[in-house]
Amino acid sequence: MNYLNSIKIALNALKRNKFRAFLTMLGIIIGVASVIVMLAIGQGSKKSIQDQMSGMGTNLIFAMPGSEQKGGVRMGNSDAQSMKLSDIDAIEKNCPAISDVSPEVRSSGQAVVGNQNWPTSIYGVNNKYFSIRKYTIGTGRTFTENEIQTYAKVCLVGKTIVENLFAKTDPIGQTVRFGNIPLLIIGILGEKGENGMGQDQDDLIMAPYTTVQKRILAITHIQSIAASAASETQNEAAIEQMTESLRQSHKLKAGEDNDFQVRSQSEMVQMFSSISNVMTILLGAISGISLLVGGIGIMNIMYVSVTERTREIGLRLSVGGRGNDILLQFLIESILLSVFGGVIGITLGIVATQVMASIMSWPVVITTLSVVMSFLVCSAIGIFFGWYPARKAASLNPIDALRYE
């Protein structure tokens, strides 16, 4: 007997019970659809976190002062003054894996233009900072070397500042006062939007680090160092080199703890990815259970079907069907049920995902892997849960089966 005939026989048998076949498939349909939707949500949130993180710069490496001991007393991190501008020069000299490095000094306060004011932060940086943090220059220019040397009172402003302080006029060439220091606006930063934590990345003023150090904060140390690795693959090397360079310039002896911390953006990405991976697995597992229940539903119906069709099986055996033919027929029936159900479920899942994405504007990603996987799982369910009922059918004795009432 050939397989084509088996498939035809199984199809005919299913056609005789269309409604029951549909109800049987329903479990699989719902299971597969929910797997597709849940994985799409999980993958979508993972991707959106990754996108936002890499928007901050994937090669980004931060160094900030770590815990410090003074006479056995551990000090807090924020008021440590261990980082100096000389550290920057040393990093530039010693670290081939780092392409750009910039000091960072921050202050928050009120920005004032005319009778308008806005609470914001000022960042003291050098020109490399823009590329390190993936900021673009919308209009205007960056700082000149001379402006940095002379603590010039110039700045670039973010989109949020422009919107809140400059209603209609062009900000370039105007003055914004921050902590009573008037700063000439020489450029506007390109829009960046929110970061992964919901922080507005356009609500800031950027000025030369010298200006912020001397005129606003009146300090000589720097608060942190932002750098970017030459490429993503050199992240590890860059972190190592930077750590080594900082240890040298801070004159730390071997065995002494670092008085700073080096963090890379890719570590953050990994951390958030692993969180959303756990979430995806959790969602997938829950909907996987519903898929399993759907499979058991198929098994249940196939068992009922074998009992109900005992006489049919007896007849098929008596007209020359072999045990294997009967086995194949029932196995194909359950595979067809689960595969049809799977295809419908995949379609339904994709449609539901798109609907959800457009109505609730959730980030969703349907991966080919999740579609292929759920299809394979369906076929496996068909074979696994169809096997025992099919075996039962095939092992029937034709004489008893024919007489079965």
């Binding site: 050939n2 005939n5 005789r16 049919e312 007849l315 055996l317 007209v319 020359g320 072999r322 294997n324």
Partner: protein
């Protein structure tokens, strides 16, 4: 000399029910030649059903030999027996055993599905020819529940014919039918027998057995009587003499 279709020698069949052994057949010798229409008779428990199951290759004897169309079934495996049933045998059951929600044509096609040598076109043609032979050309696409008992049994007979078997085995094929319909079925079987089909027909009704060429009576696992029917009834003629039912 006609060809021997069925040859049974010293056939014994025991069943083991718990600790008790039931001797269903106690050494049966039987020969059925081509073109015969044999009635296998006996009360329930006489062994006639067991005999039919063995003749139908659905069951194996405990001892003795059985040759079907020259093939000894003693050494055959389960699958080979299935093939033998598929090619050599046709079954007609008391309760028709048609697939529900399946057209007459598809029901008749069923045995040919299990013969991989037959392509779908030939399958369709042979099923149509078999239905034509039982006079149901106009009912090909009807479902069993749209047909009368007699028509359903005709479909079953067509199904038993479709593989062109060497012998048709009928098990109380008229048991569920009224007298008139029984005679119609017998007329059809007599007609098929006339055309050369060998038929073995299990029945316990003497008047049905009178339509056949030979009667074999079983009791307690033995053949107790075996005789050729002398004044054989003709079902088609008897039908004419039956009072025509008044249409209401």
């Amino acid at each position: 000399m006609k060809k021997t279709i069925i040859e049974v020698k010293q056939l014994k069949k025991d069943f083991f029910v718990g600790e008790i052994t039931v001797h269903a057949l106690r050494g049966v010798n039987l020969e059925i030649k081509e073109g015969e229409f044999v009635a296998i008779m006996g009360t329930s428990g006489s062994g006639k059903s067991t005999m039919l199951n063995i003749l139908g290759c659905l069951d194996k004897p405990t001892s003795g030999s059985y040759f079907l169309d020259g093939i000894s079934m003693g050494e055959l495996s389960k699958n080979e027996l299935a093939n033998l049933r598929n090619i050599k045998l046709g079954f007609v059951f008391q309760s028709y055993n048609l697939l529900s929600r399946t057209t007459a044509l598809e029901n008749v096609e069923l045995p040919l599905y299990y013969n991989s040598k037959i392509k779908s076109k030939e399958r369709r043609e042979r099923a149509e020819a078999a239905l034509e032979a039982v006079g149901l050309t106009d009912r090909m696409h009807h479902m069993p529940n749209q047909m009368s008992g007699g028509q359903q049994q005709r479909v079953a007979i067509a199904r038993s014919l479709v593989n062109d078997p060497v012998v048709i085995l009928a098990d109380e094929a008229t048991g569920n039918l009224d007298t008139r319909t029984s005679y119609e079925i017998m007329a059809l079987l007599q007609d098929l027998n006339q055309k050369g089909k060998t038929i073995a027909f299990v029945t316990h009704e003497p008047d049905i057995a009178k339509f056949m060429t030979r009667q074999i009576v079983f009791r307690d696992g033995h053949i107790i009587r075996e005789e050729y029917v002398t004044n054989r009834n003709n079902a088609a003629e008897l039908l004419k003499s039956l009072p025509i039912e008044e249409s209401v």
